[in-house]
């Protein structure tokens, strides 16, 4: 067990390194650089009289004219010393913002996943128990509604309905959960719903197939044979065992959400890392991009490890090598 954990943790290192190299290479070949954007204000219509000489001068000042491997080595060295660097665009330390934004995104993801879970698991159970009946079809269609629409469409429609039908929108000015919980919930519930709506299909599908599988297992058959009621069979035996893969898969899904709620954050004005990331990409601010990606990657990998461990504890059939 310990060896397994140590081995997994050690494997983090090459993976994170590969992540940073991929990002660095991408940012290196992506056209456009921060210096240019700083001088033009990142507005397609404001770049008029920027002199090309000034651009070169600023590139040198920001260190963007150095060879890419030197830039990478410098960045890595700073990173190892715990210095995430300063945003190229804002010229403020990345670390100042990252923490708070990360917490916000985690809150959003937790709320989204939670809502999805609450709705999707019953839907999945219904469709498994009533496989190939009308109820199955209805619950499956319901679960699929969200995945069949791009998130931005859901978000825009929600905004339109709130603004043009109810003449109301969640208050501006993001409030922290622990400072003004009520305002925070008003602001977060709609983006969370949009995420939940989108994730319904996934969780419901996993629940359904997981339930179908367990219900065919021997012990469930035994339980049935013993004369337990159908509800008893489902609740006591099937669901208990089916939940394991559901939780596992949701865990992985959670990791995916951390880096993937950008559009929802942008439209619903949630100051999370998704918003930060898209801003950084627009500005070609690779210092910020690197910091966010490394953080997300590390958290996701750690999460996966924890899930695997929990899985192993709960399912004695798994053996760690």
């Amino acid at each position: 067990m310990t060896t397994y954990i140590v081995r997994r943790l050690l494997l983090f290192i090459p993976t994170i390194l590969i992540v940073t190299i991929i990002i660095f290479l991408l940012m290196w070949i992506v056209p456009g650089d921060t210096a240019m954007l700083i001088l033009t204000g990142n507005d397609p219509n404001e770049g008029g009289r920027v002199s090309l000489e000034d651009v070169e001068r600023l590139r040198a000042k920001l260190g963007l004219d150095r060879p890419v491997h030197i830039q990478y080595a410098d960045w890595l060295w700073d990173m190892l010393r715990g210095d995430l660097g300063e945003s190229l665009w804002y010229q403020t330390p990345v670390i100042d913002e990252l923490g708070g934004r990360f917490v916000t995104t985690v809150q959003l993801a937790v709320m989204g996943m939670g809502l999805a879970f609450i709705i999707a698991v019953p839907l999945g159970i219904i469709s498994a128990v009533k496989q190939d009946t009308k109820l199955d079809y209805i619950s499956r269609i319901v679960a699929l509604l969200g995945i069949a629409m791009p998130t931005f469409l859901i978000a825009i429609v929600v905004t339109y309905v709130l603004a043009y039908v109810f003449d109301w929108l969640p208050p501006l000015d993001y409030a922290n959960l622990w400072e003004q919980p009520l305002t925070n919930l008003q602001q977060m519930v709609f983006p969370a719903l949009a995420i939940a709506f989108h994730d319904l299909a996934f969780t419901a599908r996993v629940t359904r197939s997981s339930m179908l599988e367990t219900m065919r297992d021997d012990y469930v058959r035994t339980a049935r044979a013993k004369g337990l009621t159908e509800m008893g069979v489902i609740g006591r035996h099937a669901l208990k065992n089916a939940l394991l893969p559901i939780i596992t898969v949701s865990g992985y899904q959670f990791g995916r959400l951390l880096g993937g709620v950008v559009i929802v954050e942008v439209i619903f004005l949630v100051p999370g890392i998704g918003n930060m990331l898209i801003d950084a990409i627009i500005h070609r601010d690779f210092v910020v991009i690197q910091a966010v990606v490394v953080l997300v990657a590390a958290v996701v990998m750690f999460l996966n490890l924890v899930i695997d461990l929990i899985y192993g504890v709960l399912d004695p059939r798994i053996r760690y090598q």
């Binding site: 992506v30 056209p31 456009g32 650089d33 240019m36 954007l37 700083i38 001088l39 033009t40 204000g41 990142n42 507005d43 397609p44 219509n45 404001e46 770049g47 008029g48 009289r49 920027v50 002199s51 090309l52 000489e53 000034d54 651009v55 001068r57 665009w89 804002y90 010229q91 403020t92 913002e97 009308k134 079809y137 209805i138 269609i141 509604l145 825009i156 429609v157 905004t159 339109y160 309905v161 603004a163 043009y164 039908v165 003449d167 109301w168 929108l169 208050p171 501006l172 000015d173 993001y174 942008v266 439209i267 004005l269 100051p271 918003n275 930060m276 801003d279 627009i282 500005h283 070609r284």
Partner: protein, 639 residues
């Protein structure tokens, strides 16, 4: 439940779809809105600063005993009256000179104090040093209200240049030495504003080898380190030559005055990064720690402002909302009092609808003809190196169609310089010219289309050619690229593909001349003087002219207009430039001039739409009047 009714899954899908449909339609509020009624709706709703007769500011000295600065006054004909909606209602610009209105001053005592305003803005702040910043939205809009200039455009009469920190000024006989007498003012840390601060700021703006985005034009007039302190409150500022546009530039909102004892301690990075690092003398004070990136920032009132009783607002908070639909929705439900800066192109096509949607609470306002649409040709590569090709491609474009479809009526046809500037440039006169002609039925003249085809054939492309239009994927840049592509295919048989990207990539291509045509839309003018066009589009080694298009004659005219003090003669020089540009076919060919739109609550009083987006950013003249009368819907914002 037991009985199995034949509900097929497809029926379910149909029900779902129809429910969605009903849902969507319901949220669209009946969704019966017609296409924007372009010319009828734009004009009356507009509170723009007068007709576009003479876009050059006509500075008329300071409010006190200032002698008339001959050089500055020389800029142009007296301009149109400002702020009067009657003038704005004129659908087509004319060149008739209009009397300058006497500056209204009694508003200062009518203003009411109170209320913290909430604004909606699109762009994030980037750099807080106004001298450095190259962009309106990342620098001036967020940072401007903290500072004063030496002189400013009169906020209630944007044609006029009046004193800001300078109470009055003198100009020497030969027009090369300005003497500024300062008002009694304090920085927000309580230190007095001294002549040495002004000299410091002028030298900071013109610092050699430092990047100076929008302030670099001062270098054309002022030699670094030549201004002197005469006494505590008097500054002597020599300029390189008697210049027509010196004051026009100095009054620009970018020419901010900084306190030497604060700014002198800051590195460029520190001045840029953090609004907390700098103070000014302006009407509002930045609220420490209020900048949350991609979210909001906040200003509070400067109680010690030297123009008491201004400012009137207790402060204001700016909410940064990237998504335009969300921003409009925010205004719709009353979470904000207006757009910020009040007039920005982002919201132009939505503000009239918003006025209806909010039952007249949010008023539409427009600033006319302040942005350009046009074709940027890479004139170094085939086939665009042939002037005939450039002319043909430009000539087939129906500018009226651009105005109707892309600008949704919020614009007019135009040419190289500010609409209506040169004597032969009125819209009526334009319709006589190739490229603008109309047939009897009002459609684009067949003669122009034939001429374009002839030119293209003459250049060796009778069957058309294929190429790439470089564009970005959003905004009117994207829509105009599509329309232009369609027109070229329809009329000239060109097979163009649109290559779109984000701004950074577009710039990278532009800089390295890695493009064929860039269809531009929305490029804003900075100053209400045609020299601004020369600065922005015809500078050498700049991004918009990365191929360095020019001719000897053109350079000579450029130099001559800067020194010409007689407004009529200067206008004549620009007329010559227009002719020359018509013959020589430059790298940039205009396809229209567009208005910028915005919206303010009707209870916000005394906002007079300036001549360009880049002017009057201090907001110290506006106030909130809870009891203001709501004008009828559809009439736009009234100051």
């Amino acid at each position: 439940m037991k009985r199995r009714r034949k509900t097929t899954p497809s029926a379910l899908i149909l029900i779902t779809i129809s429910l969605t449909l009903v849902f969507l339609i319901a949220c669209g509020g009946a969704a019966t809105a017609p296409a924007p009624e372009s010319d009828t709706s734009a004009a009356p709703a507009s509170a723009a600063a007068g007709s576009q007769s003479a876009p050059t500011a006509a500075p008329s000295g300071s409010s006190s005993q200032a002698s008339q600065p001959t050089a500055a006054a020389a800029a142009a004909q007296p301009a149109a009256s400002s702020g009067s909606s009657a003038a704005a209602a004129e659908p087509t610009p004319t060149v008739q000179p209009v009397e300058v209105q006497a500056p209204e001053t009694d508003w200062v005592t009518r203003g009411k104090h109170g209320r913290t305003m909430k604004w909606v803005a699109r762009n994030n702040p980037g750099f807080w040093d106004v001298h450095y910043g190259a962009s309106l939205t990342t620098t001036l809009t967020p940072s401007g209200p903290r500072f004063n200039q030496l002189v400013e455009y009169n906020p209630v009469n944007p044609e006029e240049i009046i004193g800001d920190l300078a109470e009055s000024w003198d100009v020497s006989e030969d027009g090369t030495v300005y003497t500024f007498y300062l008002a009694e003012a304090n920085w927000t840390d309580g230190q007095p504003v001294k002549a040495s601060d002004i000299v410091y700021s002028l030298d900071r703006i013109t610092l050699p080898d430092a990047f100076r985005g929008r302030t670099n034009s001062l270098r054309n007039f002022y030699e670094h380190k030549t201004a002197e302190v005469i006494d505590e409150r008097t500054v002597r500022m020599p300029i390189k030559f008697p210049a027509a546009t010196f004051m026009v530039n100095l009054a620009s909102d970018y020419m901010k005055m900084y306190p030497e004892h604060v700014a002198g301690q800051l590195t460029q990075e520190d001045a840029n990064c953090c609004p907390e690092n700098m103070i000014g003398s302006g009407p509002f004070i930045f609220k420490d720690g209020s900048w949350q990136k991609q979210e909001a920032y906040e200003y509070v009132r400067n109680d010690d402002y030297f123009k008491a009783p201004r400012p009137y607002f207790d402060g204001f908070k700016v909410f940064l909302i990237q998504d335009v639909a969300r921003a409009i929705a925010t205004l719709k439900v009353g979470q904000a009092d207006g757009t910020y800066y009040p007039v920005l192109s982002t919201y132009t096509e939505f503000v009239e609808q918003l006025e209806h949607d909010t039952d007249g609470r949010m008023r539409a306002l427009f600033m006319e003809n302040v942005q350009r649409a046009g074709l940027n040709f890479n004139w170094l590569v085939e086939p665009y190196d042939d002037p005939r090709v450039r002319t043909a491609l430009w000539m087939v474009i129906d500018q009226e169609e651009i105005v109707e479809k892309i600008l949704r009526g919020n614009g007019t046809v135009g040419t190289h310089f500010h609409v209506g500037f040169a004597p032969n440039e009125s819209v009526e006169a334009l319709y006589e010219l190739p490229g603008y002609r109309r047939d009897a039925d009002g459609a684009k003249a067949q003669a122009d289309l034939d001429e374009a085809r002839r030119l293209l054939a003459e250049a060796g492309y009778p069957e058309g050619f294929s190429g790439t239009i470089t564009s970005i994927l959003t905004g009117c840049t994207a829509t105009s690229a599509q329309l232009v592509k369609d027109i070229w295919k329809r009329e000239l048989n060109l097979e163009m593909t649109i290559e779109s990207s984000d701004v950074a990539t577009l710039y990278a291509k532009w800089r390295s001349n890695d493009y064929g045509v860039i269809v531009g839309c929305g490029s804003g003018i900075i100053l209400p003087d045609p020299s601004d066009i020369l600065n922005q589009w015809y500078g050498l080694d700049t991004m918009r002219n990365s191929g360095n298009w020019t001719t000897t004659e053109f350079e000579a005219l450029k130099a001559a207009q800067a020194k010409e003090l007689d407004p009529d003669k200067r206008k004549e020089l620009f007329s010559q430039m227009v002719e020359l540009l018509r013959d020589e076919v430059p790298h940039y060919l205009p396809t229209g001039w567009m208005h910028a739109g915005g919206t303010l609550d009707y209870r916000i009083r005394n906002y007079h739409v300036p001549r360009t987006i880049q002017m009057i950013h201090k907001l110290d003249h506006m106030w909130w009047d809870e009891d203001a009368e709501k004008p009828p819907i559809g009439t736009g914002y009234q100051p």
